[in-house]
């Protein structure tokens, strides 16, 4: 069973994505701060991480960097509600697989997850 880590401080989103992906047959792990996300990355080495850029304690970009080091095989979907091209570009240069601009719906998420974990 494929493992998916969700890192987002917006609990409503975490809840929705977790419920949906569990039903789709994935093992879902969640974190609502950057630090928690980094810890769980190291512990679980997930197949996929769905990462928010805006986190209360650290930038999602930093989490992305840690991921590249501790779990290089992990696929990454970056998402944000903040419309700043600079951050989007930075995430791309560090190495994300997919970028999703908020708001996005579950069908779109499912398509990307399936493609990455094929």
């Amino acid at each position: 069973m494929k493992k998916i880590l969700i890192v987002d401080d917006e609990l409503g989103i975490v809840e929705e994505v977790r419920d949906f992906l569990s039903e789709e047959g994935f093992e879902v792990i969640t974190a609502d701060t950057g630090k928690e996300g980094v810890d769980k990355l190291g512990q679980t080495k997930p197949d996929l991480m769905i990462l928010d850029i805006k986190l209360p304690d650290m930038s999602g970009i930093d989490v992305l960097k840690v991921c590249k080091r501790v779990a290089p095989q992990t696929k990454i979907i970056v998402n944000t509600g903040y419309v700043d091209q600079k951050i989007i570009d930075e995430a791309e240069s560090v190495g994300r697989d997919v970028f999703l601009q908020k708001p996005f719906d579950l069908e779109r998420l499912k398509t990307e997850v399936d493609r990455l974990l094929k």
Binding site: F20, G81, V83, K102, P103
Partner: protein
């Protein structure tokens, strides 16, 4: 006519020849021509002495003896004269040698026979003269030699004159004329020898002849004729005095004392010698005085005037006057055709021709280079130079002989070219210290005379005096021009004042324009703030929107799986949707509340608490974006703080900026904390003071000073616009308040703002007051 007259003409010739010859020799013994002239004078003196004795003697034997001596003179005179003429004309050495050898041979051959009867057989009475010689065969030979040589001398002088130009030509002409006069005068002595009944009336012409030659020779600079004449006269006077004493003593003592008192004639000589010794000096002084005062008045004045001029010029303070005086003085007093002054240029070192006087046309901007041969000569030799001197040096092979040194070499042709270009005959340098400062450029004398060495000495002295005076005058002129400069500066200051006033007026206009610009800036700043807010609002709206979208897709998915699904089964989803819609609504409402446009410049009573509370949500959006959460904010605004007067929207901008800055200052620091404290200003009872304190990194003094400057920022490029605090200060001042900063690096920063208390009474004309404040700030 008495025989004595002829005797005394001979005596006069004797005196003149000795005097002239000796004086010229003393002055110019270096000149070959003058040395020969001296021998010629001696020959004349010799012949004249014996001529005198022969005519005065009382016995036939003595007369014969003296006449024979006279014939020796007759042969010596042409021999020495032709030698002088050749040296004077600078006849080629070869020719000169041959002619002189021939002459010497003739004289040597003649001398042994001079006392032979073949020259003079006897003396006989002829006309007035009791003892006149009867010439023998050899006399004819000797006289022929005299004639031939004299004719040859004429010939040499004539051809020599044809070859020369200018002064030199005139000089030779004088010698030639003198020779003709002397020849005519001399020949009259010989007519009676050939039984031609003409008395030697013109014997005195020989003196004239001598003077003429002397004059001509000294025209060629050797000595001023006036000095020669003066000295000759004094000398002649003294000789006459000595003779007179002797004659008188001899006559009186011998004739009277001897005859009547029986005193020995020896005493007559002793007494006359005593008289001469006693009387010589007073007589000489008397003669010098008489000649100086009465005969040489002009000369006397001329020297005195030069002296006066030297004294006078040092008192002249204006350079222009001084130069003008020097050139005027020289042209008028020395009777010079033209004069000018070459003055050294301070910057370039070259010499420019100034103060031209008497030139047919004025030279404009004529310059002589510092390395010109003329300038080099004058600088090095420190003496005046004239064309005659140059000619001498050029004849000496372009070298100037200097005692104890190697001959100095100059480009004399170049010097002459330069002087001719300047139409100058004589150039006199003028030094200050060792530096050549000026050159007096003198044209020819009106008389055509050359510059004598005495002239040049006087001019040189004058030039040195004038150098000092010129320097003085130059300094004085400089001082004057500095005074002028000061005046000019004053004028400039006056006009600057005018310009300043104008500039002030312009500034006022510019201020008005600035006010408009600042209003524009406020608008732009607002737009920038709004842009940032919009971005954060986007984030704040997008999160709930995402959830909402997911809720919708969940519901749709569920309906697809089970088309008979009841609404109650997914009620939970709808409730979530409602929550998120409410949240979006709240975010948008906050925004619209903030953005609600208030009327521009219209101040209203505001509660400080309200302002802060309305600002805080915006701050939180912002700081959330910048990852600066976790800051403790404490509001310490007591209830008794009165309302302030202001524009909510703008004051919100101020506090938003202060908060954002504080957050940035505290980034990465432990226990970030902001305290906002308000009180009635203890110093100004009509103001409220707000202290906005953070415990961030603080800032240096330098930064504090510039923090409110437009465009100043400590943030990395692209992060800060440098507009924030500038706008804060501006807005606060628009309100009639102040904003100041106090900071400790590493400890924290406090901004203190003052804002006016809202007063009921002034409510009616708030608008007007705010306008006044705007003006105050702008000025």
């Amino acid at each position: 006519m008495d025989i004595a007259f002829f005797a005394y003409t001979a005596l006069a010739n004797m005196v003149t020849s000795i005097a002239l010859g000796t004086i010229l020799l003393l002055y110019y013994y270096r000149s070959a021509a003058i040395r020969r002239f001296f021998f010629f004078c001696l020959s004349i003196a010799y012949a004249s002495t014996f001529y005198f004795l022969w005519l005065k003697t009382e016995t036939a034997e003595a007369a014969l003896y003296f006449a024979r001596h006279f014939t020796i003179g007759m042969v010596l005179i042409p021999a020495t004269y032709i030698a002088f003429v050749m040296a004077f004309l600078k006849i080629p050495a070869r020719t000169e040698k041959i002619v002189n050898s021939v002459n010497l041979a003739v004289v040597i051959l003649y001398l042994p026979f001079s006392f032979h009867p073949m020259v003079i057989q006897s003396v006989e009475s002829k006309m007035l003269f009791p003892f006149w010689p009867e010439p023998g065969l050899l006399f004819h030979f000797g006289f022929s030699y005299f004639l031939m040589t004299t004719v040859y001398a004429h010939y040499l002088l004539w051809t020599g004159m044809q070859k020369e130009q200018g002064i030199r030509r005139r000089q030779i002409r004088y010698v030639l004329a003198g020779t003709v006069i002397g020849f005519v005068g001399g020949v009259t002595n010989f007519l009676l020898w050939y039984d031609i009944p003409v008395l030697p009336y013109f014997n005195l012409c020989i003196s004239l002849f001598l003077l003429s030659i002397a004059y001509a020779v000294i025209r060629f600079r050797l000595l001023d004729i006036e000095i020669i004449l003066r000295k000759t006269l004094v000398f002649a006077g003294l000789v006459s005095f000595v003779f007179a004493i002797f004659a008188a003593a001899t006559f009186i003592i011998r004739e009277i004392l001897n005859i009547y008192l029986g005193i020995s004639p020896i005493w007559s000589y002793i007494i006359s010698i005593f008289l001469i010794v006693v009387g010589f000096d007073p007589i000489r002084n008397l003669l010098v005085d008489i000649t100086d005062k009465h005969l040489f008045q002009k000369k006397y004045d001329y020297q005195k005037l030069l002296k006066d001029a030297s004294k006078g010029i040092s008192r002249i303070e204006s350079l222009q006057h001084l130069f003008a005086l020097v050139t005027h003085f020289i042209t008028m007093r020395m009777r010079v055709v033209s004069a000018a002054i070459l003055t050294k240029q301070k910057d370039s070192g070259r010499f420019s021709l100034e103060f031209q006087r008497g030139y047919p046309k004025k030279y404009l901007a004529y310059y002589v280079a510092a390395n010109d041969p003329l300038i080099q000569y004058l600088s090095t030799e420190k003496e005046a130079i004239d064309l005659e001197k140059i000619r001498e040096y050029m004849e000496a092979g372009g070298k100037k002989k200097v005692k104890g040194e190697k001959p100095h070499e100059y480009d004399f042709a170049g010097i002459r070219r330069q002087m001719e270009a300047l139409e100058s005959v004589c150039c006199v340098p003028s030094f200050l210290g060792h530096e050549l400062k000026n050159v007096l450029v003198l044209g020819p004398k009106k008389s055509g005379d050359v510059y004598t060495s005495e002239d040049m000495n006087v001019l040189f002295t004058l030039a040195q005096e004038s150098a000092i005076a010129i320097e003085n005058a130059r300094l004085y002129d400089e001082a004057l021009s500095r005074t002028q400069e000061l005046e000019n500066i004053n004028i400039a200051l006056e006009s600057a004042k005018g310009k300043l006033t104008q500039a002030l007026n312009e500034t006022e206009a510019a201020n008005k324009q600035l006010q408009d610009t600042q209003a524009q800036l406020i608008h732009e700043q607002k737009m920038a703030t709004l842009g940032r807010l919009a971005a954060s609002v986007g984030h704040e709206v997008n999160n709930p929107l995402t959830i909402l979208s997911m809720n919708v897709s969940r519901a749709i998915l569920k309906f697809r799986k089970n088309p008979d699904l009841k609404v109650s089964e997914i009620l939970e989803v709808f409730q979530k949707m409602e929550q998120n819609i409410s949240r979006i609504k709240a975010v948008v409402n906050t925004l619209t509340g903030l953005l609600k446009k208030s009327e521009k410049g219209k101040f209203e009573p505001l509660s400080l608490k309200l302002i802060l509370e309305e600002t805080l949500p915006l701050v939180q959006f912002q700081t959330y974006l910048d990852n600066l959460t976790g800051t403790e904010v404490e509001f310490n605004v007591p209830g008794n703080v009165p309302l302030i007067r202001g524009d909510l929207e703008r004051l919100q901008e101020v506090f938003l900026n202060l908060f954002i800055n504080a957050y940035h200052a505290m980034a990465g620091r432990r226990n970030p904390r902001i305290e906002v404290k308000a009180e009635v200003d203890p110093n100004q009872p009509r103001m409220v003071a707000i202290h906005f304190t953070d415990n961030g990194q603080g800032m240096s003094e330098e930064t504090q000073k510039r923090i409110f400057n437009y465009g100043f920022t400590t943030k990395p490029p692209g992060k800060g616009s440098g507009l924030g605090l500038y706008m804060c200060k501006y807005i606060i001042e628009l309100h009639g308040g102040e904003i100041n900063v106090r900071s400790n690096p590493g400890v924290g920063t406090t901004f203190t703002l003052t804002l006016p208390i809202y007063e009921e009474a002034s409510f009616g004309n708030l608008s007007a007051q705010s306008n006044v404040n705007v003006r105050d700030v702008a000025q």
